[in-house]
Amino acid sequence: MTLKKSSRAGLLALAFGILLGLFLSVASFDASYAQAPAAAPAEPAAAPAAPPPACDATAKPPVLEKCTPNSGDTAWMLTSMAIVLMMTLPGLALFYGGMVRKKNVGDTVMTSFAITCLISILWLFFTYSLAFRGGTPFIGGLDRAFLQGILSDISKGIGNPNPLAPTIPETVYSMFQLTFAIITAALVAGSFAERMKFSAMLWFIGLWAIFVYSPIAHWVWGPDGVFNSTNDAAWVKVLDFAGGTVVHVNSGTAGLMAALMVGKRKDTGPAHNMVLTLIGASLLWVGWFGFNAGSAVSAGIQAGMAMTVTHLATATAGFTWMIVEWIMRGKPTVIGICSGAVAGLVAITPASGFVGPMGAFCIGVAAGIVCYWGCTGFKRMFGYDDALDVFGVHALGGAAGALLTGVFAVSEYGGTAGLIEGNAGQVLNQAIGIGCVFVYDVVVTLIILKIVDVVIGLRVPSEVEREGLDLALHGETVQ
């Protein structure tokens, strides 16, 4: 009954959201056509005066008018977007789905799917603009709300690329970054699996994407972000090639907060199907090349190096976890080697553009050991019920990776020297970045969770939890 009520609450609210969206959409249409004529005259007006400057991404400030995309870079980024989406669907869905009990697998995989849809709609509306357009050092502007202007001159066969991605169309860059926003949100959901209301999950994740992910992404990657290492005006230059802090520390921390707020599961049990988990881990591995090598936003030497270190760190971490587990528990498990590989992927993410093969190897070994401990000793120490170890793997792994990036960075690879080249300061920078993300995340996430809990309640009734979320919330079961 409680359930029924809450669902209704949730769905009405959701229906409202979508209708709002529709309305806004129409609005924005008007907008875009209102501006079209406005823009048109501008062109000819400018033309006679002086020929528009040629495209020059390297100039400071870069001239990005009338650039023709590089077809090779664009090909790689189109591919990267597709395979990074594959990391979440079906990758993460299965990685998580295999580790829950059979009675909850449907709810778990559907959570990843619904989050993908929700985050994409918000991205279209305003989160892309908030995260990646210039504005303040803390949050971007709204000039790309509803992605208006992003496609302004296809018909002329030329684009105005984003300064962050000068050789590809901004549409591709936006979609590529969307897949990062999606998986970050989907990762969070692992911590409260098997017990949160589906409606509460949608509200929590939606608000979190707006108030936590967007600003943090802007801090680190926004053109004028406060931590952006390529922004000369940055307060602290934090190295985060593909999202150690933005994606992993961020999702892991939010996950921990959610696990604490929603509480422990009534009953637990072993992973119901480690084959699903292995499929998921494998697709995460494959897709992660788009994630890390794609973060070079071009198909060249840096992408090649990123792919290399990504693969090597992952293999090393998977193997390390297996060995550690074999020694500690007497048996190597499928869940273990898969978790280790994911730990390696997480840890190499911030480092992938900055370190070399042997640095990757060391990061892999560290990730395997640290995250194993994070999912066992560390977790038992504090006694929280982070169902699928989002904190142990992503927050700890991401933090370890971010710090080790400051250690193993080699200037001839990524332009910045790390501790091994004598630049101890970089490690400090990394620590500051991690700390700020952690603190902001903890505070805002707790506020959001509290609000959702008060309004519709976070947790399913215990009989629903016993019976299983699949049947109770979705009316489906795996036979």
């Binding site: 869940i335 038992r380 699928l388 170890d389």
Partner: protein, 112 residues
């Protein structure tokens, strides 16, 4: 007639079946079950989550046999299913009042 119902360890199934056919049992029915008993299962502590695997996979065998065969059947099952370790299982015997072979309509012993 009697029904002999035995709960055994899964990997013993083939041996038990062979033992039974060797003493002339013509048919039997097998069910996958979960058992709870003295064999206390283990507590897994993985990824921090601690859970007790209290129900262990077992196999239930049901054989309808003629009354005078019962002891031979019990002997055959015990012989084949025994490992001497806790959890080997149980054999239960019930009285079977009637049996029918659906295909032919034969009843009682003839139906087995």
């Amino acid at each position: 007639m009697k029904i002999v119902m035995a709960i055994i360890k899964p990997f013993k199934l083939d041996e038990v079946r062979d033992a039974l056919t060797s003493i002339g049992v013509q048919g039997l029915t097998v069910t996958e079950v979960k058992g709870y008993g003295r064999q206390k299962g283990h507590t897994e502590i993985y990824r921090g989550a601690e859970y007790a695997v209290s129900f262990l996979p077992k196999i239930k065998i049901e054989v309808a046999v003629d009354t005078k065969q019962v002891d031979k059947v019990i002997g055959a099952i015990t012989g084949a299913a025994k490992t001497g370790q806790i959890g080997d299982g149980k054999i239960f015997v019930f009285n079977l009042e009637n049996a029918v072979r659906i295909r032919t309509g034969e009843t009682d012993a003839a139906a087995l």
